[in-house]
């Protein structure tokens, strides 16, 4: 190693040290500790006296798999991801196509308008949506009433609570992916569309054979980020329904929060957190694999 290289390595270490130290101590170490914690019976007694801590092997995981509540939370979370995710991506893409359409004037205005929900505080807008959803004096039911539709107890009816939360989440989030889609759309060379028009391709065929394939990488990124984010749903049900009615909006993270920070069953809650991680990892790898097999 020359003196210059040594100097570079030393400088690099100095510049990296604060960030890496912080990330190691306050992220990697806790993640590792969570794995260990998930094999123990860490609870409120261990919180007071560490001598009470015992290794229980896989018992937390087995308990979780045998707990109906965990399966309920898992089912609800999947519901949120599988229905809310694609809906959110579809609305984002639709909004991006509209804002980016050649005949749209003032795209900046519409882009900003669609983006405003993204920057708002989730808790504050969840408070607002609770009232919009109110069965008696909520604006939503009033609007439906004008169309002759009977009022729906959005957050109180077990069948409607999750759809209501999904609707709010889509409203809140679609603007973010819309921006990424707009960037993707603007990277498609306009000559391709011109050539297609000369060949007489219809608008739909242009979309199907030019826009969609060329948007592929953007699509994958958006789908992945949305899925990862939606698996972690917490604040929406916490503020709007507290997981109810009848646990129909209880998510895995909400369950983890309740078990860990309310009942102090931290070993059990860590196991739930790790299950979530494994699911997210599996979902990510699955999407990457599907994408790679895709000939486009």
């Amino acid at each position: 190693m020359t003196g210059q290289e040594r100097h570079a390595a030393r400088s690099a270490r100095a510049f990296l040290a604060p960030a890496l130290l912080l990330i190691a101590v306050f992220f990697f170490l806790p993640v590792l500790a969570a794995l260990l914690l998930s094999f123990t019976d860490f609870d409120i007694y261990a919180l007071g006296d560490l001598n009470r801590l015992r290794f229980v092997g896989l018992r937390n995981y087995l308990d979780l798999l045998q707990s109906p509540l965990f399966w309920t939370a898992l089912g609800n979370t999947f519901y949120f991801v599988v229905v809310g995710g694609p809906l959110s991506v579809a609305v984002s893409l639709g909004a991006a196509l509209l804002v980016n359409a050649p005949l749209t004037r003032f795209p900046g205005f519409f882009r900003a308008a669609f983006f405003l929900p993204v920057v708002t505080t989730l808790v504050a807008v969840a408070v607002v949506w609770r009232y919009l959803y109110h069965p008696r004096y909520g604006l939503l039911n009033y609007g439906l009433g004008l169309l002759g539709i009977d009022p729906i107890d959005w957050l109180g009816d077990p069948a409607w609570a999750m759809p209501a939360i999904i609707l709010m989440a889509v409203w809140k989030n679609f603007g973010f992916n819309m921006i990424i889609f707009i960037a993707g759309l603007q990277n498609i060379p306009t000559q391709l569309y011109e050539a297609a028009r000369i060949d007489g391709a219809s608008g739909w065929r242009q979309f199907r054979y030019i826009t969609l394939p060329l948007l592929g990488p953007t699509f994958l990124f958006v789908a992945l980020m949305t899925m990862i984010g939606y698996f972690q749903v917490f604040a929406e049900p916490y503020v709007m329904t507290q997981g109810g009615p009848a646990n129909r909006t209880l998510s895995v993270v909400l369950l983890m929060y309740e078990e860990g920070f309310r009942w102090w069953n931290m070993g059990y809650a860590s196991a739930a957190a790790f299950m979530l991680f494994v699911l997210i990892l599996a979902g990510t790898l699955l999407q990457l694999k599907l994408r790679r097999r895709d000939p486009e």
Partner: protein, 277 residues
């Protein structure tokens, strides 16, 4: 006639949908503002009112005088500012090192960091709570600030930006005998200004809007941030619709204003982060 229809119809359709979308996107926010100005009970009348009979600011007054919202506003501002300033330094130093120095394991280290972004933050939360409890940092500002002081995404953004800046610029400064920290401080940071502004908005808004971690760490109500205080108020004042709307307006307004003022940088940041996926 047919040709005219063919030209006008798409325009009508596109603008119709754009208007509808704008109305749907803004309606909840506008109603929040309108309802916050209504006299007590008016927002829960039937049929719903779309305009206050008389505009009143009494709920805002009540929030500051009776419910101490000023304190939460201060907490939120303080925490979001502290996290933003500290993390900008820490992340820019690391991003600089990854972009401009050669050292062993650099690429492997960077890839490991990026891969770790798949790990949901909630996995670390339980042990992090125990760790901070050991340090006596639960229910302190530091408990909220510390986990936000470095972020992989921030390091990534700065690195991407600095890769595009020619090394010759830095080498010239080295020739002139400037020390490494001086180069970082007087040359790299000013060069990074656009991306630092972007990252600052991201971090500030992210910290301001964060809910789960402050909810866990802050136990004493005097320490609450706005979102946590609002969720807590909802439990006690669930009947006071207009009051809750005023609280929501105060929670949302600062980040909305920040966004409107700096939207160019914010949008550029999303594109920069998104395009690399």
């Amino acid at each position: 006639m047919n040709r005219l229809l063919h030209r006008i119809l798409p325009t009508l359709l596109v603008y119709g949908l754009l208007m509808l979308g704008t109305a749907l996107a803004l309606a909840p926010l506008l109603w929040m503002l309108v309802a916050s100005l209504m006299p007590p009970g008016e927002a829960t009348g039937y049929p719903p009112r779309l305009w206050p009979s008389t505009v009143t600011f009494e709920h805002y007054v009540a929030l500051f005088s009776r419910l101490d919202l000023g304190r939460y506003l201060l907490n939120s501002t303080l925490l979001a500012s502290a996290v933003t300033v500290i993390s900008l330094f820490v992340n820019s130093m690391a991003g600089y090192a990854f972009a401009k120095f050669r050292f062993r394991y650099r690429d492997r280290l960077f890839r490991t960091l990026l891969a770790a972004m798949v790990i949901p933050a909630q996995v670390a939360m339980l042990p992090l709570f125990l760790l901070l409890k050991q340090f006596g940092l639960i229910n302190t500002y530091w408990g909220v600030i510390i986990p936000g002081m470095a972020s992989i995404f921030g390091i990534f953004l700065i690195r991407q930006y600095l890769l595009a800046i020619p090394d010759s610029l830095l080498d010239a400064a080295r020739m002139d005998g400037a020390g490494e920290f001086r180069i970082y401080w007087a040359l790299v940071l000013p060069l990074c200004r656009p991306i630092l502004v972007t990252l600052a908005i991201f971090t500030f808004m992210g910290t301001w809007n964060d809910f789960m971690w402050p909810l866990i760490v802050l136990t004493d109500s005097a320490m609450y941030t706005l979102p946590v205080a609002l969720a807590n108020l909802l439990g006690e004042h669930v009947q006071d619709t207009e009051l809750m709307m005023a609280g929501s307006v105060l929670t949302v307004l600062p980040v909305l204003l920040l966004f409107v003022a700096l939207q160019k940088h914010y949008i550029a940041g999303i594109m920069l982060g998104g395009m690399k996926g």
